[in-house]
């Protein structure tokens, strides 16, 4: 499955650190230097206390699939289908939900509550995109 066909992200002041870390295989969110709450996506402000000083925190997983879809439609020429897209949450990181692809199992096996490991794969424009790995029971 090739995930490189698609539309790359526009990188901004707020998201540069995320995409740089992704390129190194690390998933990061923002943590408030004041109240320690975690926020995602990164916006340079704590969603809990609105503090403006934030630092990065690594999300190491495992995560849990909140929900999913299997995309069958070829929205772009040469798009490799089908593929599963998952919304992943992390028990130790409330406030962080990350959307990505799912690898490591047939698309028919994806399910709500499935445990997944954090990972990345080559995506559009040379960016590494979130791509979780199914943890099979």
């Amino acid at each position: 499955m090739d995930a490189t066909v698609g539309i790359p992200p526009a990188v901004t002041e707020e998201t540069a650190a995320f995409w740089a870390a992704a390129g190194e295989g690390r998933l990061i969110a923002e943590r408030c230097a004041s109240c320690r709450a975690e926020s995602f996506p990164p916006r340079g402000i704590c969603r809990l206390c609105r503090g403006r000083v934030t630092e990065s925190v690594s999300i190491v997983g495992p995560g849990s699939v909140y929900s999913y879809t299997v995309n069958y439609q070829r929205w772009l020429p040469s798009l490799d289908v089908p593929y599963a897209l998952v919304l992943v949450e992390f028990a130790d990181h409330p406030g962080v939900r990350v959307v990505g692809r799912l690898r490591g199992c047939p698309v028919s096996d994806v399910d709500i509550g499935m445990t997944v490991e954090v990972g990345f794969e080559p995506g559009p424009g040379g960016f590494a995109i979130p791509s979780f790995t199914a943890v099979l029971p």
């Binding site: 539309i7 995602f40 929900s67 879809t69 439609q73 929205w75 959307v99 709500i112 559009p124 960016f127």
Partner: protein
């Protein structure tokens, strides 16, 4: 809350007009826009010289999909040779088509305002050989799309689908239940000469249809169309000059939770805060509603509106729509009597729904008329942006 304090009671919807509507209408978006505006103003019983407010949705800069955004407000004003005291072109805040115009007229900024929406998505899809990826008009995914498009969440279908998956999982609602929404709306479309798809649709057609992004199949998606809809909002004191005005009993648009396609805590709750705010502005209750024009960009959005508006309980919409009896023309809550966007055409943002609600309340809905309709519900949703209104006979 006393009725005289509600700004929406100071205005009426005085006219609705539509251009030709179809999968492909071989005329420019500008011509469709003019057709709809002229029809709406005539429908109101007004002349163009009465119009002093213009609004279009979306305003500039919302071109995420080919054929989605069309035209320029000033060009329309120039072509109509009118003077305006109020104008609006927006993207964010489009809770209901007539929301901004109602505020402008209620506060005296305009007396008769026209708001329109023109789509050429049918032509665009035909030219491209299929529906385009969301955001594909730009080289890179900006803002909130930066989290969605690069991983392959390339369409609103993929974006809404996980919430449909979650809803069906939590409440045990099946595709064979949800099928009754597009199936019933198709039967309504057969009675609407302007609908895009009128051929009968069955539950087995639905279950056999190809999956777009699970659990959303082809017939769960609205149909890209060409067409324009215009709506005239007028000051209530001008009612004696109007042909057949319709009241806005109550309206509201609340965005709560996290307004994001992937961060929303539970998109199945979209519309609940909006509906609660709307019901707080009226003494009418869900049982008083005679006809429901609920936004149906996807079947599942209709499901969520049925529950948010209190037409059934949370998780009960599957059972509510099953068999199509309740939501059919003879039922307790006829739903999307024009076919909705699923069969009538993606006129978008609640414009088609509003036009139909007005026709129903006036008794001008032809073969699909709900006898004696005096209260209509209209809702709109775009992901997390939501609006709900009750319209009533004048």
């Amino acid at each position: 809350m006393s009725g005289t304090e509600l700004f929406e009671r100071r205005v009426v919807i005085s006219g609705v007009g539509q251009s030709a509507i179809g999968r492909v209408v071989d005329r420019s978006g500008f011509q469709l826009t003019l057709d709809a505006i002229l029809a709406a103003v005539a429908d109101a019983g007004l002349s163009l010289d009465d119009i002093d407010g213009l609004a279009m949705f979306p305003g500039g800069g919302a071109a995420n999909l080919p054929g989605y955004a069309n035209g320029n407000l000033y060009e329309v004003q120039d072509a109509l040779r009118i003077t305006t005291t109020w104008r609006q072109g927006i993207v964010e805040g489009m809770s209901l088509p007539f929301y901004g115009a109602a505020m402008a007229v209620a506060t005296g900024q305009a007396r008769h305002a026209v708001v329109w929406r023109t789509v050429k998505e049918g032509s665009a899809a035909r030219a491209a050989g299929g529906r385009a990826a969301y955001g594909s008009l730009k080289a890179a995914a900006e803002g909130p799309l930066a989290w969605l498009l690069p991983v392959g969440m390339l369409s609103p279908v993929c974006q809404v689908a996980p919430y449909a998956t979650r809803y069906m999982h939590e409440y045990g609602v099946s595709r064979s239940q949800l099928a009754w929404i597009p199936v019933t709306q198709r039967a309504h479309a057969a009675l609407n000469p302007d609908a895009v798809y009128t051929k009968p649709l069955t539950v087995s057609d639905y279950l056999d249809a190809r999956m777009i992004s699970s659990p959303i199949c082809l017939y769960d998606c609205d149909v890209p169309a060409d067409g324009a809809t215009a709506i005239v909002v007028s000051a209530v004191e001008t009612a004696p000059d109007l042909r057949s005005p319709v009241r806005i009993e109550a309206m509201a648009g609340v965005v709560d939770g996290r307004p994001s396609w992937e961060q929303w805590e539970d998109m199945g709750r979209v519309g609940f805060a909006t509906a609660a705010a709307m019901w707080a502005r009226t003494s009418l209750r869900p049982a008083d509603v005679d006809v429901a024009e609920l936004y149906d960009g996807f079947t599942i959005e209709c499901v969520w509106w049925l529950e948010a508006m209190g037409f059934c309980g949370v998780g009960e919409a599957g059972a509510f729509v099953e068999g199509g009896t309740r939501i059919g023309l003879g039922g307790s809550l006829p739903l999307n009597t024009w076919g909705g966007q699923l069969s009538g055409g993606r006129l978008h943002a609640g414009f088609g729904h509003t036009a139909e609600a007005v026709r129903q309340l006036r008794g001008e809905a032809g073969d699909r008329q709900v006898a004696g309709a005096s209260v209509a519900a209209v809702t709109n949703v775009g992901g997390y942006e939501a609006g709900a209104a009750l319209l009533t006979r004048f």
